[in-house]
Amino acid sequence: MSTRLTARRRAARTGQYLALLGYLVFLAFPLLWLVSTAFKPPRELASLHPGWIPDHPTLDNFRQAFDEQPLLRSAGNSLIASLAAAAITVVIATPMAYVMARHHRSPLSRAATGWIVVSQAFPFVLVIIPLFLVLKEVRLIDSLSGLIMVYVVWSLPFALWMLAGYARAVPRELEEAAAVDGASRLRTLISVTMPLLAPGIVATALFAFITAWNEFFFALVLLKSPQKQTMPVILTHFIGTEGVADLGPLAAASLLATLPSLVLFAVIQRRITSGTLAGAVKH
């Protein structure tokens, strides 16, 4: 009986691993294909039987992409906008989320939650006109500051939603224990609550960063000067009439555009894990 159970468990575990492997392959496919395409010469791009590994790998696509478009400048603009948006979002969202979590039964908190949900349903087209007007009034059209402000406003509802969930998971008992030990309210927040919230803060920052890094439409509409354009806007310059794309340089530029997110994930992933563990030990 127990042998049969173990065998069944093994089969289930194998199935789980296979499913996980399949999912990983599914996730990795576009990225691997992008890498492959970025290094292929034009003739291999149009092959009827494309291979994963280029027969004649070339850096020409990267050279052409850099020659044709100001990739570094646009990447710099994207980086400034995304980092600033992520930082500001976290600074604003953290105390708000804490309050929402601790007083989630208050009418104000409920109203805020409702508003967050509703705000996620707004299409860009409804927001862009009032935004344009407001930014124009305060002379923030065609400026990265204006764009950062928009990104913060755009990310904030979901960031709040995310962080409030993390904050709710921090047990009140820990704060009460700290108070019993004589810690002040501020000290409790800094020494007890914040470390436990750290994974949530990091995840929220990552969310805000990636939202801003990938954002195209606001950047397209709000930035006029070529010197200020961000990476997603520049990437569209490799697309011509009727959707024809200069595939090699586009893949090369897109690959460069994915790097900051990948690096950030690689760096932050450990932080998320360690934060989670720290919370567990404390608890």
Binding site: A46, L48, Q69, H237, T241, E242, V244
Partner: protein, 440 residues
């Protein structure tokens, strides 16, 4: 050449994006900023170009640099735009009083802007030299309600790119610009070329409407009929049905066309074309650049004219690329001077070669560089006189008709899901309901 717009896509509900934005137009226009004149009187014009191919970007930037060197008092700033997003980007720019002074676009995208009053009437701004250079039927492509809102300077016919080895091995007559195939001969040729795993033709029909409408001009198809009161109605008579029937029969009847390319764009068919799966692909003239870049070494290809209608009618619809001037630009005369410089015949030739398209200017079109047989230039140049305004481009409501009615209906017809009767019913009845809303 019309591109899908993000705004349009995001408001597929009750309001069109253009309408939403237009409603706020007056508000935004009130915020127009001060224009760019330095304290020493020097003017700066913004020129938004949509050049995207390497040679084309180089040609554009070189011409701007040459202008700036020769005109220190009127500086032109080159701004890179993108075909993919130009409509939305221009719409918000116009509304906010932030539009570039000189605007690169295509005629099928200009109607909304022209009727909305965003583009200057160029009639009195352009020099006679430039007016005489471009044939009247080409000016017609950028004329809206009697006013010229763009200078058409590049255009491309649809041609048949063919695998030369397969063509020469077959028994079909090889058509020339002077003696093109009739649509019937084209059907026979496609059948003859279909053998041993090779389809005679691959129709890339991801966006079937403009290809169908523009090619239908050769059989007398109009689809959009303007009445004496100026109102446009949709009809789908025998002449309009000829080309769709050919495509439909090739796909589902004699199977001389590959059904798998129905959902493809032009570029997607090239690997199969290079691999010998398709003998011919109907594509825009500029696709030759991709073929030159991507074809395997030794692959022989040739450019054939599109089939002709009754009496050898080779007319086809095009939406040329244009240069326009923003209505709220305070430097319209200076912008017109730049356009005149930019489109001088030798410059037009440089731009045409950079984009692998045909210039609209008569002098530029005579340039020997555009009459070489290499890469099919001569075949394309011979077709230039037969190009006419795309039937739909001045029709208000066409984008909605195309997206909501014609694209799904034609896709279903070509895939065999519906017959000609239902196609006609949907294009005409649903189509006229759409157009009526724009013509109240």
């Amino acid at each position: 050449m019309r591109r899908r717009t993000l705004l349009a896509a995001s408001t597929a509900g009750t309001l069109s994006a253009a309408g939403t934005l237009s409603a706020a137009g007056t508000l935004l226009s009130a915020c127009a900023p001060g224009r760019r004149r330095a304290s020493d009187g020097r003017i700066t014009l913004r020129f938004q170009s949509l050049a995207w191919q390497q040679e084309s970007i180089e040609a554009n930037k070189q011409l701007v640099a040459e202008w700036n060197a020769a005109h220190p008092d009127i500086r032109v700033d080159y701004v890179q735009g993108s075909w993919d997003s130009v409509h939305d980007q221009l719409l918000t720019s116009f509304e906010g009083g932030e539009a570039p002074d000189i605007i690169h676009d295509a005629t099928d995208d200009l109607a909304d802007f022209a009727y909305g009053g965003y583009l200057a009437d160029l009639t009195g701004l352009l020099p006679q030299r430039l007016k005489d250079e471009i044939p009247p039927q080409t000016w017609q492509t950028a004329t809206f309600a009697g006013a010229v809102h763009g200078v058409p300077f590049l255009q491309e016919p649809r041609v048949l790119i063919a695998n030369r080895a397969l063509l020469e091995r077959s028994r079909v007559r090889i058509p020339t610009a002077e003696r093109p195939w009739s649509w019937g001969e084209f059907e026979d040729a496609a059948k003859e070329l279909t053998r041993d795993g090779t389809y005679g033709v691959a129709w890339p029909l991801k966006e079937p409407v403009s290809a169908t409408l523009n090619l239908s001009l050769s059989t007398g198809g109009k689809v959009f009929h303007r009445g004496a009161d100026g109102k446009v109605t949709v009809r789908f008579d025998a002449a309009d049905q000829r080309v769709p029937r050919v495509i439909h029969d090739q796909l589902g009847g004699d199977r001389s066309a590959a059904r798998t390319t129905l959902g493809m764009g032009g570029s997607d068919t090239l690997p199969g074309f290079f691999g010998g799966k398709y003998a011919m692909v109907p594509l825009g003239f500029s696709y030759r650049q991709q073929i030159v870049q991507q074809a395997p070494k030794g692959f022989a290809w040739t450019v054939l004219p599109s089939p002709a209608g009754p009496g050898g009618d080779q007319r086809q619809g095009v939406s040329p690329q244009t240069l326009s001037i923003a209505a709220d630009s305070p430097y319209q005369k200076e912008a017109a001077r730049f356009i005149d410089f930019f489109l001088r015949p030798p410059h037009m030739v440089r731009l045409a070669r950079g984009d692998w398209m045909l210039p609209t200017g008569l002098t530029a079109l005579r340039d020997p560089a555009l009459h070489t047989r290499r890469h099919g230039w001569a075949t394309g140049a011979a077709l230039a006189g037969r190009l006419r305004p795309a039937p739909a481009q001045s029709v208000r409501g066409y984008p909605e008709w195309k997206d909501k009615v014609a694209t799904p209906a034609l896709q279903e017809y070509y895939s065999g899901a519906i017959g000609m009767g239902e196609l006609r019913e949907r294009l005409v009845e649903d189509g006229n309901l759409v157009l009526a809303r724009y013509q109240r």
